[in-house]
C-alpha cells in the first residue's frame, strides 16, 4: 500500500529491532523514520510530521520515559499516539503510573499480527 499516508517513528537503540519494525511496517506501506534515542526522536519530529511513535524504554542519552513525558506534555505532540515496547511487566506498571501514560503497550517479543493490530487500532482512533 504505497499510498498509505501514515508516518511512523521507531525509537530504539537496538538496530535489529529497528530493522524488524522497519521491515514489517514498510511492508504494510507505512513510511518509517528511525531514531536511536529520545533526543534524536525529538529532532526528527521537529522536521517531520509523525502520525505514530513506537518507542523502547531503555536507551542512551534520553530514555523512553523522558520521551513519553515530553511528547505527552507538549500540546503540539500530545495527540500523537504512542506505542511503548516493554520487555518487563514492571516497565508497563511503572509507565502506567505516569501522569500521561503511553496509549498502548507491546510486550517484547511480539507477534507481527499483534504489532499490526495495535498500530491499526491506534491510527484509527487518531483519525
Amino acid at each position: 500500500m504505497p499510498d498509505n499516508p501514515f508516518v511512523i517513528l521507531v525509537v530504539d537503540d537496538d538496530p535489529d529491532i529497528r530493522l524488524l519494525l522497519d521491515f514489517n511496517l514498510s511492508r504494510d506501506g507505512y513510511e518509517v523514520l528511525e531514531a536511536t534515542n529520545g533526543a534524536e526522536a525529538l529532532d526528527i519530529m521537529r522536521e517531520h510530521a509523525v502520525n505514530l511513535v513506537i518507542t523502547d524504554l531503555t536507551m542512551p542519552v534520553m530514555d523512553g520515559y523522558e520521551l513519553i513525558r515530553i511528547l505527552k506534555e507538549s500540546p503540539d505532540t500530545s495527540r500523537i499516539p504512542l506505542l511503548m515496547l516493554t520487555a518487563r511487566e514492571e516497565e508497563r506498571v511503572s509507565s502506567e503510573g505516569m501522569a500521561n501514560p503511553p496509549d498502548a503497550y507491546l510486550p517484547k517479543p511480539f507477534a507481527i499480527a499483534d504489532l499490526q493490530a495495535k498500530i491499526e487500532k491506534l491510527l484509527s482512533q487518531d483519525s
Binding site: 537496538d14 535489529d16 529491532i17 524488524l20 521491515f23 514489517n24 520487555a87 518487563r88 511487566e89 514492571e90 506498571v93 517484547k108 517479543p109 511480539f110 507477534a111 507481527i112
Partner: protein, 771 residues
C-alpha cells in the same frame, strides 16, 4: 467427690481414735498419781499467792519458847507448870495440850488435880511410827484425848488431816476436833456422823480434811508460856477462848512443813494444830473436786481444744493453747481462793498440752505429706531425673520421716530437687527466651503470659498488640504475607492441638521477614498457645535476589528473542518448501521459550508479592466465554471440542480479571494438551450461595495417584508413556495455583489415571476484597 469425702471421714475417725487413746493415757497417768506432784505444786502455789487470811480470834496459842525454858530450866519442864497454866487460863472453853505426856512424873498428881478442876482439858495421844498408840499416863486421869497425827504428803508437806482414827473397836478423834467440840458444843461424833467399818488389827484413817492454812509460821498470834505464868495476861484474856499449848523452843517439839514452807521454814506442830482447829471453826476446809468430775471436764476440754487446734493455724493454736493453760490457772485459783474448792489443774494443763502436741503432730504430718506430694509432682518434671538416691525418699507422711536422718533428709532431697529444677528452668529460659527467637505464650484465657525481649521490642516498634491473642491476631494480620485467616486458625488452635506457620514482614527498625510458628499445647487440660518467631530475612533476601537475577536474565533473553521470533516469522512467511518449515520451527520454539520465560516471571512475581492484584467486580460468565473462544482454534487443531457450561446468571465476584482469565486459559490449554484427539474439554461454571466454582473437566490421560500432589510443584513433569512427548515447562500449574491463591481462591484437583482430570477453581463469595 464421694471418694474424697470418704477419705476425709477415715482421716477424721483415725484422728479421733488417736485423741481418745491419748485421753485414756492421761486418765491412767492421773489415776497412777503421776500428776500428784504437779497438783501439789499448784496447790501450794495457790496458798502462797492467796497469802495470809486472818484466823479466828478464839484461838490462843501458848508456846513453851526459848524464853520460857530460860526461866523454867531445860526441856521437858515440870508438869506442875502445866497445872499452873491451867489455873491461869481457867476461863478458856478448852485447853488442848500438844505435849506428849505418856510417861509418869512426880508432878502428875498436881496436874491431875488441875485437869479435873477445869474439866475441858484435852491431852494428845501419840501414834508411833510402828503404829503403836500411846495414851497419856494413867496417873493424869484425863478424860479427853485426841490424836495430833497429821498426814504428810510424799513431799513431806502437811496438807491434810484425818480427824478420826479407828483403833480396833475405838474411835480416836483428833485433838483439834475435840477442841472444836468444846468450843461449839458439837462433839466430833456428831460432826463426822457416818457409818464406820471396824477392823480388828489395823488403824484406819477417816474423815480427812484439807487444812486451810491461814498463812505461814507465825500467822497465829502466840503468847509465851512464861508470860502467862507471870500474869502478863489477865484471866479475862482467856475467857471463852480455846488455848492450845505446845512447844516452839529451839530443838524441842515437832515441826511440820506447810504449803507456805517454800523456803523450808517449818511450822511448830502446835501452830499446825491451831490451823486445823481454825479450819474447823471457820468451816473453810479445802474441798477437792471429785475425780469423776475432773475426768469428764478434762474429756470435754480435750475434745474442744483438739477441734480448735486442728482448725486453727499453728500460730493461733499455740496462742490458744497458752491462753487455755493460763485460763485454767486463773479459774483454778479463783475456785480455790473464793470457794475453797481445789480443781487439781494438772490434768487440764496436761490434757491441753498433749492435745496441742497431738494436733501439731497431725499438722506436721499433713505438712510432710504435702512435701511428699510436692516431691512426687516435681520429680517427673526434672528433665534429667533426680541425680540423688530416690530410694532415700521415704513416702507416707510423718512415719516416713522416722528414718536415720529423719525429716532432714527429706528437706535435703527437696532442696536438691528445687535447685535442680531452678537450674533446668534457667537453662530452658535461656534457650526459650534468648533473643535468637521471638517467643510469646498466650494462656487459656488468651491473655499474654510470657513474652521475651525480642518479641516485645519487635512488636512494640511495629504497633502489634500483644496483650491478648485476639488483639495480637488483629494487629498482626496486615503484616502476614500469606493469604490466611488468622482469626479462624486461632479459634481452631484453641480447640485442637496443632501447629501452623506463616510469614510476616515487619518494617521496623529495618525491613525484616519472620517465620511465625504457632502451636497449641495442653497442660492440665488447659490449652496454651506458643508463638515463635524466626528471622528468615536472609532466606527471603536470597529468594528476592534469586527472583531479581531471574528477572534480569529473562529480560536479557527477551531482546534477542524479539529478533529471533520476529525475523523467523518474516522468514516463515517468505520462504518456500523445507526452508519455510525450518523457519516455522525456529519461530514456534522461540515462542515457546518466550512463553516459558513469561510464566516463570509471573510465578516469581506472585511469590515475591510483586504481582499487582487488581480486584474488581468481575462476571465470570464472560471470562469463561472469552477463554473458550480464544482456545477454540487450538482445540480444533488438536481435534478437541471445547464446551462452555455456563448458567444463565452467576452474579459478579471480586477477583483479578486478567489473572483469573490466565488461570482458566492455562488449565483449558493443559486439558487440550493432555487429551487425545476426539475428546472434549468442558468448562463448567457453578454458582453456589457462598462460592463460585470453575471446573475444567477433561477426559484425557489423567494423572497417576502418586503424582497428584506433585503436579503443582515447579518444573514437575508427569512421567507417562502417553505424555512424554508433550512439550511443557512444568510451570503452568504452579502459576495457576499461585495466582488463584494470591486472590484468596482455592485450586483443587481430582484425577483418575487413564480417565481424565477435573481442575476446580473456587472463589468464596465472602472472601478478601469486598469492594
Amino acid at each position: 467427690m464421694d471418694k474424697l469425702t470418704g477419705h476425709i471421714r477415715v482421716v477424721t475417725i483415725r484422728k479421733a481414735i488417736i485423741c481418745g487413746l491419748l485421753l485414756v493415757f492421761i486418765t491412767l497417768f492421773e489415776y497412777a498419781g503421776f500428776l500428784e506432784g504437779i497438783n501439789h505444786y499448784f496447790y501450794d502455789l495457790s496458798f502462797r499467792i492467796r497469802g495470809f487470811r486472818a484466823p479466828s480470834k478464839d484461838i490462843i496459842i501458848v508456846t513453851i519458847d526459848d524464853k520460857t525454858l530460860e526461866k523454867l530450866g531445860r526441856w521437858p519442864i515440870r508438869r506442875s507448870y502445866y497445872a499452873l497454866l491451867i489455873d491461869k487460863t481457867a476461863g478458856a472453853k478448852a485447853i488442848a495440850f500438844d505435849i506428849i505426856m505418856t510417861e509418869p512424873t512426880d508432878d502428875d498428881a498436881l496436874l491431875a488435880r488441875a485437869i479435873k478442876e477445869h474439866g475441858n482439858i484435852i491431852l494428845p495421844v501419840l501414834i508411833e511410827n510402828n503404829k503403836n498408840v500411846k495414851y497419856p499416863v494413867a496417873s493424869l486421869s484425863v478424860s479427853h484425848v485426841g490424836h495430833v497425827h497429821v498426814e504428810q504428803g510424799i513431799d513431806g508437806i502437811v496438807r491434810e488431816v484425818y480427824h478420826t482414827l479407828q483403833l480396833r473397836n475405838d474411835l480416836l478423834h483428833s485433838l483439834s476436833s475435840m477442841a472444836y467440840g468444846f468450843a461449839t458444843d458439837k462433839p466430833p461424833s456428831s460432826i463426822f456422823d457416818k457409818k464406820r467399818y471396824m477392823s480388828d488389827n489395823k488403824i484406819t484413817q477417816s474423815d480427812p480434811m484439807n487444812i486451810n492454812y491461814c498463812g505461814g509460821p507465825g500467822s497465829f498470834e502466840s503468847i509465851s508460856f512464861i508470860d502467862v505464868l507471870n500474869n502478863v495476861y489477865p484471866p479475862s484474856f482467856f475467857i471463852n477462848k480455846i488455848v492450845i499449848v505446845g512447844v516452839s523452843a529451839t530443838g524441842a517439839g515437832d515441826l511440820i512443813l506447810t504449803p507456805f514452807s517454800q523456803d523450808r521454814r517449818s511450822m511448830p506442830g502446835v501452830e499446825g494444830q491451831a490451823n486445823i482447829l481454825n479450819t474447823l471453826l471457820l468451816n473453810n476446809a479445802v474441798n477437792i473436786a471429785s475425780p469423776w468430775m475432773r475426768w469428764i471436764t478434762a474429756l470435754f476440754l480435750a475434745m474442744v481444744s483438739f477441734i480448735c487446734f486442728l482448725r486453727s493455724t499453728e500460730q493461733r493454736a499455740a496462742i490458744l493453747g497458752l491462753m487455755m493453760i493460763l485460763s485454767i490457772g486463773v479459774i483454778m485459783y479463783l475456785f480455790f481462793s473464793v470457794f475453797n474448792v481445789w480443781l487439781a489443774p494438772a490434768i487440764y494443763c496436761f490434757t491441753v498440752f498433749l492435745v496441742f502436741m497431738l494436733a501439731y503432730i497431725f499438722k506436721f504430718n499433713d505438712a510432710i505429706t504435702a512435701l511428699d506430694k510436692a516431691y512426687a509432682t516435681v520429680v517427673p518434671h526434672l528433665r534429667w531425673g533426680y541425680a540423688g538416691d530416690n530410694e532415700k525418699y521415704a513416702e507416707r507422711g510423718i512415719s516416713g520421716s522416722l528414718t536415720e536422718k529423719g525429716i532432714q533428709s527429706k528437706a535435703q532431697i527437696l532442696n536438691d530437687i528445687s535447685r535442680q529444677l531452678g537450674f533446668e528452668k534457667e537453662l530452658t529460659d535461656r534457650a526459650l527466651l534468648s533473643d535468637i527467637h521471638g517467643v510469646l505464650i498466650f494462656g487459656p484465657d488468651k491473655k499474654n503470659m510470657l513474652i521475651n525481649n525480642l518479641a516485645q521490642t519487635l512488636f512494640k516498634k511495629n504497633w502489634v498488640e500483644t496483650g491478648s491473642a485476639d488483639e495480637f491476631v488483629t494487629s498482626l494480620t496486615p503484616s502476614i504475607m500469606e493469604n490466611i485467616k488468622l482469626e479462624d486458625i486461632l479459634a481452631s488452635l484453641y480447640n485442637e492441638k496443632k501447629d501452623v506457620y506463616f510469614t510476616i514482614s515487619l518494617e521496623k527498625p529495618a525491613k525484616k521477614f519472620f517465620k511465625v510458628d504457632v502451636s497449641s499445647f495442653a497442660v492440665d487440660e488447659r490449652t496454651y498457645l506458643l508463638i515463635m518467631l524466626s528471622d528468615i530475612t536472609k532466606i527471603k533476601e536470597l529468594e528476592i535476589l534469586k527472583g531479581h537475577i531471574i528477572s534480569v536474565v529473562s529480560h536479557e533473553l527477551k531482546t534477542p528473542m524479539t529478533s529471533i521470533q520476529g525475523f523467523s516469522e518474516i522468514l516463515a512467511g517468505s520462504l518456500e518448501g523445507k526452508m519455510k518449515n525450518f523457519a516455522v520451527i525456529i519461530h514456534r520454539e522461540s515462542e515457546r521459550l518466550v512463553r516459558f520465560l513469561n510464566t516463570f516471571l509471573d510465578i516469581t512475581r506472585i511469590e515475591e508479592g510483586r504481582q499487582p492484584i487488581k480486584m474488581t467486580s468481575v462476571n465470570l460468565n464472560d471470562v469463561v466465554r472469552e477463554v473458550a473462544s480464544a482456545l477454540k482454534p487450538i482445540g480444533d487443531t488438536n481435534g478437541i471440542t471445547i464446551h462452555a457450561d455456563i448458567p444463565d446468571k452467576t452474579g459478579d465476584i471480586v477477583i483479578d480479571r486478567d489473572l483469573t482469565k490466565q488461570c482458566i486459559f492455562n488449565l483449558v490449554e493443559n486439558a487440550i494438551k493432555y487429551s487425545p484427539s476426539g475428546k472434549d474439554v468442558i468448562i463448567k461454571l457453578t454458582s453456589e450461595p457462598d462460592h463460585l466454582k470453575v471446573d475444567i473437566i477433561d477426559h484425557g490421560y489423567g494423572i497417576k495417584e502418586d503424582d497428584l500432589n506433585k503436579v503443582f510443584e515447579k518444573f514437575f513433569r508427569s512421567s507417562s508413556d502417553k505424555t512424554k512427548n508433550i512439550k511443557g515447562s512444568g510451570l503452568g500449574l504452579t502459576f495457576v495455583k499461585e495466582a488463584v491463591e494470591t486472590q484468596g481462591g482455592k485450586l483443587t484437583l481430582a484425577s483418575v489415571y487413564g480417565e481424565g482430570s477435573i481442575f476446580s477453581i473456587i472463589f468464596q463469595k465472602t472472601v478478601k476484597g469486598e469492594l
